[in-house]
Subunit: 300 residues, 2 copies
């Protein structure tokens, strides 16, 4: 039986009762409009915990004034049906008025990680993410919380705040789930026109091409980034950023040398098609075709 | 048997084990150099919880660059003896390197409460308090945490952040414990010379005098504040602030009318004697002598 909680008090009582029974609680925070990517997070939480909680909350504080808060897609009935089929114990729908009541004034912020990639064009975004995730962690006190690797900078922010603030929660990440043509699943893909949707496959193709270039010996991040940008622009994408970054600090790498690859280097990008901003990222390795099915990366 | 934990991992395991056994955990965060005021907090925690944890940590992030971090008094052996006598289950000595490890970057801040009283002359103070208390709450996950009313603004900041971030912790406050002459107990009283110590009694005397003036019908905060300032300066105190404030928002009150008294109004002050900055506060009421023994308030 899947329960639904609409107040933090209900959700907290349920989660604390499970914890008191010695059960492991797994939390999957989402903004709803669920797709296979979210359900993969739920399945991973089920493997790691005895009880799985999914929160659905379109968090207003992580949207800038010109962003898509008002239009963010919602489908509560569809989400509940998917979660029931996938096997979830508690769905938590926080209310905006409860998470941000009149007079609330406490925020959680990070000093460095947000000053990279998406944080540069979305200045309030990661403060909003950090604050709402802190609230969700304090409400549910999960032993484990699961986040997707598509939102890679978000994953790092949450991992860092969980450690810095000493929540007793393990942050687990799940690989990006992709459409058959490689496009990373995202609730925002619903915004794309049919034409934009066809063009958007260039994002993953470009990441795979970049990985192959690195495997073939490319070491110069600037040159690689410029070529990636060209490939995307040739399909009508408007590049917000394309960057080759350290996988922990998100600092841009000048050289993609073997040491950088060993520490971990990511190619990351944010690109608009029409009004829709999409992000994706891929770990660079010396193996060209890991995660990139043969032929797909270079297909136009 | 009183246990001592010197790492957050030990403290968290102990507290979570107690919680899992269905025991209520009470936390008393301190900076050590314990006096009767702290021990009153411990006794209150014992009344409200099954297990009492006292943390002792001189938190560097709540001191400004010109403040007394380096000189803050410490007495670990004396503190342990007092806590053992008073009856404490766990003493937690976090290390600076563990609470603020290399690469830490997460802070908790409040938008409004710090912009009053002590926050104006100590700009980093309440951010440091909010951040360290969040860490201590996440480590110990206490059902109750106890703070003194002497640090009234700190109490409000902690109460607000606990609610805003949804920690499952009740914040309980304990009345200020005073020396026989009325001076509020504080670890910083140890800094005072004998002469400064004698003069410092003017703080509580002035608060009691202000309460009596209000009970006699004084309604004008500015006039009352100016007279309080005069009394303190006549004993050699250097006033940082004297203010009549709303007990929840800390906004300064222009008029101390019956509605304000009913909502709750505090007289609050921060005063230096030599290099030592002392704070105190008192709830204003229509009863002149509540908490102010007859004759003391007007004695010089």
């Amino acid at each position: 039986m899947m329960e639904v909680a609409r107040s933090s008090g209900e959700a907290q009582r349920r989660c604390l009762a499970w914890r008191a029974e010695g059960l492991r609680v797994g939390l999957v925070p989402t903004m709803g409009y669920l797709h296979e990517g979210h359900l993969a997070l739920v399945r991973l939480a089920r493997e790691r915990a005895d009880r799985v909680v999914v929160s659905i909350f379109v968090n207003p504080t992580q949207f800038g004034p010109d962003e898509d808060l008002a239009h963010y897609p919602r489908d509560e009935a569809g989400d509940l049906a998917k979660l029931e089929r996938t096997g979830v114990d508690l769905v938590f729908f926080p209310s905006r008025d409860e998470l941000y009541p009149p007079g609330h004034e406490t925020t959680v912020s990070l000093a460095r990680l947000p000053n990279h990639l998406c944080g540069l064009s979305r200045p309030v975004h990661f403060g909003g993410v950090a604050t709402v995730v802190t609230k969700l962690l304090a409400i549910c006190l999960p032993q484990v919380a699961v986040f997707g690797e598509k939102d890679y900078q978000q994953l790092l922010v949450i991992r860092k705040l969980t450690r810095d603030l000493f929540f007793p929660t393990e942050i687990v990440s799940a690989p990006t789930v992709r459409e058959p043509d490689g496009l990373a699943m995202s609730s925002r893909n619903a915004y794309l026109s049919a034409d934009e949707r066809r063009r958007a496959r260039v994002l993953f193709e470009t990441l795979c091409w970049a990985r192959a270039e690195v495997a073939r010996g490319e070491r110069d991040s600037r040159r690689l980034g410029a070529l990636m940008r060209q490939r995307i622009e040739s399909r009508g994408g408007v590049v917000d950023y394309v960057a080759i970054v350290d996988h922990e600090t998100l600092d841009e790498l000048e050289r993609i040398d073997p040491g950088a690859l060993e520490r971990g280097a990511h190619a990351a990008l944010a690109v608009r098609f029409g009004a829709t901003r999409l992000i994706d990222n891929l770990l660079l390795t010396s193996q060209a075709d890991r995660d990139c099915p043969a032929g797909r990366a270079v297909t136009r």
